[in-house]
């Protein structure tokens, strides 16, 4: 009885500052475990990478010599400028794809707007490198499009030559980030914003330029910086397209060919982190203090206008072209997975299911591994995410907020860098049984969990935020102890959000390759994305690789669908 009383008082939300350390033992343990996990598998590996970049190998003291080597080496500088160029151009091309889709579907009465928005997000559920080979077959020098163009117009467009290929594949894959953010911004503009301008004499393009565009800008910048960072950090796509003169491939090649001791890989990692932080900072700058979500009472987004007939036809033609373009990798991959032979022809010579049989017969280990790794990583993420969300929102424990920041900072750590950090930090740590921790398959799970933690954390936090603390107080008032309140009230109410967080982590972890590529030590431990990568490197393996890619798309697609259903049901419950 007396215990219940003290617990109830301690849990009253406005905990005074003086008592903030008076946390209950359970919370302190949760805090400690999460902190240890984040420090061991995020902070230490990243700090190790940064240290090695600035450490003299002989003396262990501080040095800028490695940075000097990097700056004075033509190959590395070329790689740096190539990375920058490819990332910026990808933003430009992705914007060209996303702008019309976002603009037409949010601002006009547009039949099939929902379909366009849904199809527009589809590319995200496919690993970008999976589409790379298919894109080569469709848009390459002797790909379907150029063969047809050659036949009819006698021209050949170098879509896929060198850096162009990377830019093309990346923008087709990542433009949904811009589409989603920009559409959300456009939808959040209250129609009275536009009407007030019309009322004062403005219309047409001037109205768009002076009112709509500036108001949608924060969303656009947020999406664009996300595209930039993803492309800048990506390892697998350039490697698969055989483009080596970019930063991430260079780091990978140095570490894997020269060795873990070579400092240049670490210097490149620091550059990658630097640019990631920079673009996240730009994005937060764009959003901070400029919360232009202006929908007001009685508002409801911009008024949708009807397009005149001629313009409507043109708009549909434009959007269908864009959709055909962005869905091409999916189609190409599918064709490749059922093709007997496909080269120097617009379409495959014949069709077969042999690739799927082969994949299931020889390489079902990839699929099982993926399900296990991504499943464990997702589980780990929601457990940690729920713990952090609870500590931040319900206990006001000093430092809980820092756990949140720390977990979110994983967004700024490229997968490649995390992989290098794990190798360097844990290579010397041996497990009972003699294998190195860095060679143990569990390390892949940890890397995936750390990389996807931010998504799960946000989902869990949002879910907990929606639960009024009075629901918990009511349970306490009726005599439930803290732990029972969590188990009987909080967790059931959070279930929808937690499930959504799990699926997001699972789906994105299932197609992760950057960290995985560094950490996979044997083929038996490899997940699907790695297997796909291995298959795609030989022309003979392409059909099977494509089949594996289609399986990945199906896994991710199904989990996205499940997450939609779960969140839709959760939304209904809370409403």
């Amino acid at each position: 009885m007396s215990l219940a009383t003290t617990e109830a008082t301690a849990a009253t939300p406005p905990v005074s500052r003086g008592r903030r350390w008076a946390a209950r033992p359970g919370e302190a343990v949760a805090f400690g475990l999460v902190a240890i996990f984040l420090i061991a598998f995020l902070v230490v590996p990243v700090l190790t990478v940064i240290t090695v970049a600035f450490q003299d190998r002989a003396t262990g003291g501080f040095t800028l010599a490695h940075v000097g080597d990097f700056l004075s080496n033509d190959l590395f500088m070329r790689s740096f400028w190539n990375s920058l160029y490819v990332s910026l151009m990808s933003v430009v091309v992705a914007s060209l794809i996303a702008l019309p889709l976002a603009y037409f579907t949010t601002r006009f009465e547009f039949r099939g707007a929902v379909l366009v928005q849904t199809l527009g997000v589809l590319p995200l559920i496919m690993p970008p490198f999976a589409g790379a080979v298919a894109m080569g077959l469709l848009f390459g020098r002797s790909g379907s499009v150029n063969l047809l163009l050659g036949d009819y117009f006698d021209i050949n467009i170098p879509f896929m030559e060198g850096l162009n290929g990377v830019i093309f594949v990346q923008s087709v894959h990542y433009f949904p980030f811009i589409l989603l953010n920009l559409s959300a911004s456009l939808r959040n503009i209250d129609r009275s914003m536009e009407e007030a301008a019309q009322n004062l004499g403005s219309h047409g393009f001037r109205l768009f330029r002076r009112i709509v565009l500036p108001l949608a800008m924060p969303g656009y910048v947020a999406g664009a910086s996300l595209v930039f960072i993803k492309v800048f950090d990506d390892l697998a796509t350039p490697l698969l397209l055989n483009v080596r003169e970019m930063l991430a491939p260079q780091a990978y090649l140095r570490i894997t060919s020269v060795g873990l001791e070579d400092p240049i890989g670490y210097v490149i990692s620091v550059v990658l982190i630097l640019f990631s932080v920079l673009s996240l900072w730009v994005s937060s700058l764009a959003l901070r203090g400029r919360d232009y979500a202006t929908v007001q009472r009685g508002g409801g987004g911009l008024a949708r206008r009807r397009l005149p007939r001629g313009q409507a036809v043109a708009a549909y033609a434009l959007i269908l072209t864009i959709l055909a373009l962005v869905l091409a990798p999916h189609l190409g991959l599918f064709l490749l997975s059922i093709a007997t032979i496909w080269s120097f022809a617009p379409l495959p010579d014949g069709y077969t299911l042999a690739h799927y049989t082969r994949v299931f017969a020889e390489s079902s280990g990839y699929i099982t591994n993926t399900l296990i790794y991504a499943g464990l990583a997702g589980l780990l993420d929601v457990v940690i995410g729920t713990a952090i969300a609870y500590l931040v929102l319900r206990t006001r424990m000093a430092g809980a907020r820092w756990l949140d920041y720390l977990a979110m900072s994983a967004l700024a750590v490229p997968g490649l860098v995390l992989g290098i950090g794990y190798l360097r930090t844990y290579f010397g740590v041996t497990l009972p049984g003699g294998t190195s921790l860095a060679a143990f398959w569990g390390i892949i799970v940890l890397a995936l969990a750390v990389r996807r933690l931010p998504y799960a954390l946000r989902a869990c936090t949002a879910a907990l935020q929606q639960i009024s603390s009075s629901l918990e107080e009511a349970a306490e008032n009726l005599g439930a102890r803290r732990l029972r309140v969590v188990r009987r009230i909080v967790l059931p109410l959070m279930a929808g959000g937690i499930a959504a967080g799990f699926v997001t982590s699972f789906a994105t972890a299932a197609v992760e390759l950057s960290a995985t590529l560094m950490l996979v030590q044997s083929n038996a431990d490899a997940p699907l994305a790695y297997g796909l990568y291995v298959f795609m490197q030989s022309p003979a393996g392409r059909g099977a690789g494509a089949a594996l890619g289609i399986i990945a798309v199906v896994i991710v697609g199904l989990s996205t669908l499940v997450s939609h259903l779960v969140t839709a049901r959760g939304g209904k419950e809370s409403a």
């Binding site: 209250d190 019309q198 004499g201």
Partner: protein, 363 residues
């Protein structure tokens, strides 16, 4: 200073307007004549079509039938940006990415006004609403009242032919509301600007407007000065929407030239000769048109109705009693002069009704 913002006032004519959204008829045969320089209100409950009518004048809606004239010119087919009618939005619709000054200058820039004149007119508009020196702030740094002033300044800066105000006081707190409505009236008088004020609050409409159009279910019920509407409501809706009304069901009995209204339950009220009696009429009187007397008191020349006092509200200047009479509850206002005795809840009392002040109205 505000002279450069004044212009010759224009009148507004709305002729035979019908407007529907799909099967819903939002406006039905609306006809209005608003005089130049008049402060006019559209008053009605939410969903009555008042905002739709305002947006129609601004060009944000299209009517299926009818037309709108401003200053004698038909503007029905003009897009919003060519109409030159200034509208202040309920949400103010200030652009968050522009400073106060840029917001106010926007309309002038769109009209390609010379730079020097823009500066002068922006200053004049800001001075008019008492926001000198606030030009460099962002809308988000202003209070709700200040934001509204910016919205107003932004609209009058372009010297519109008419000014449309959509529920301008609804987002302000009660104390500010009284102050702002006076200022609106003062500004309107100074600029002699034809103004339409949309509101659901009869007190707002009564205090600032010259004339009011009372609307319900897309139909203009009555147009008149606040006093005309209160004293001579055209129907039961207007009677109960403006002020408090007692409405008694019953039927009209005729006996040769004389007629009377029999309230359900038996009491008869003789009607003055020549009173217009619409079909299905009910008896309407205001709470202050009845006197409440102790049982057995004399009231020569007035009809007495007996009932039980069911509740009592002290309103300061008066006491409002609820009295149950023949199944209906009648509200009665008795002046309060201090120290006087009052009737107790649960007691019986008589209502003395002045037959000259009752009205027969249909729904």
């Amino acid at each position: 200073m505000s002279d450069i913002l004044a212009r010759e006032p224009a009148g507004i004519r709305v002729e035979g307007v019908d407007l529907s959204y799909g099967a819903t008829r939002v406006l039905r045969d609306v006809n209005l004549e608003i005089r130049p320089g008049e402060f006019f209100a559209f008053l009605g409950p939410s969903g009555c079509g008042k905002t739709t009518l305002l947006r129609l004048i601004a060009g944000f809606n299209t009517a299926q039938r009818g037309r709108v004239l401003v200053g004698g010119t038909d503007i029905s087919n003009l897009p919003p940006w060519k109409r030159d009618v200034g509208m202040v939005f309920q949400s103010y619709a200030l652009w968050p990415h522009m400073t106060v000054r840029r917001n106010v200058a926007f309309g002038l820039e769109e009209r390609r006004v010379a730079r020097a004149e823009i500066a002068g007119r922006v200053d004049a508009a800001l001075a008019l609403v008492g926001l000198e020196g606030m030009g460099d702030r962002r809308p988000s740094q202003l209070s709700g009242g200040q934001q509204q002033r910016v919205a107003l300044a932004r609209t009058v800066a372009v010297r519109p032919k008419v000014l449309l105000l959509d529920e301008p006081l609804s987002n302000l707190d009660a104390r500010l509301r009284v102050q702002v409505r006076r200022e609106l009236r003062e500004m309107q008088q100074r600029l002699r600007l034809t103004t339409i004020f949309v509101t659901h609050d009869q007190e707002e409409a009564n205090t600032v407007c010259d004339r009011i159009a009372v609307m319900n279910e897309g139909v203009v019920q009555q147009v008149g000065t606040p006093m005309e509407l209160y004293d001579h409501p055209a129907n039961l809706f207007v009677a109960s929407f403006l002020g408090t009304a007692n409405i008694m069901p019953g039927k009209v009995l005729r006996d040769g030239a004389a007629s009377a209204f029999e309230i359900d339950g038996g009491t008869r009220i003789p009607l003055p000769p020549g009173l217009d009696v619409p079909a299905g009429a009910r008896l309407m009187f205001r709470p202050q048109d009845v006197a409440l007397l102790p049982l057995g008191a004399e009231a020569p020349g007035r009809r007495l109705l007996e009932g039980e006092v069911t509740h009592r509200e002290f309103l300061g200047a008066s006491i409002r009693y609820g009295v149950r009479v023949a199944g209906a509850e009648v509200l009665v206002d008795a002046p309060h002069t201090g120290g006087e005795g009052h009737l107790a809840v649960g007691g019986r009392a008589a209502l003395a009704l002045d037959a000259a002040r009752v009205k027969l109205l249909a729904g």
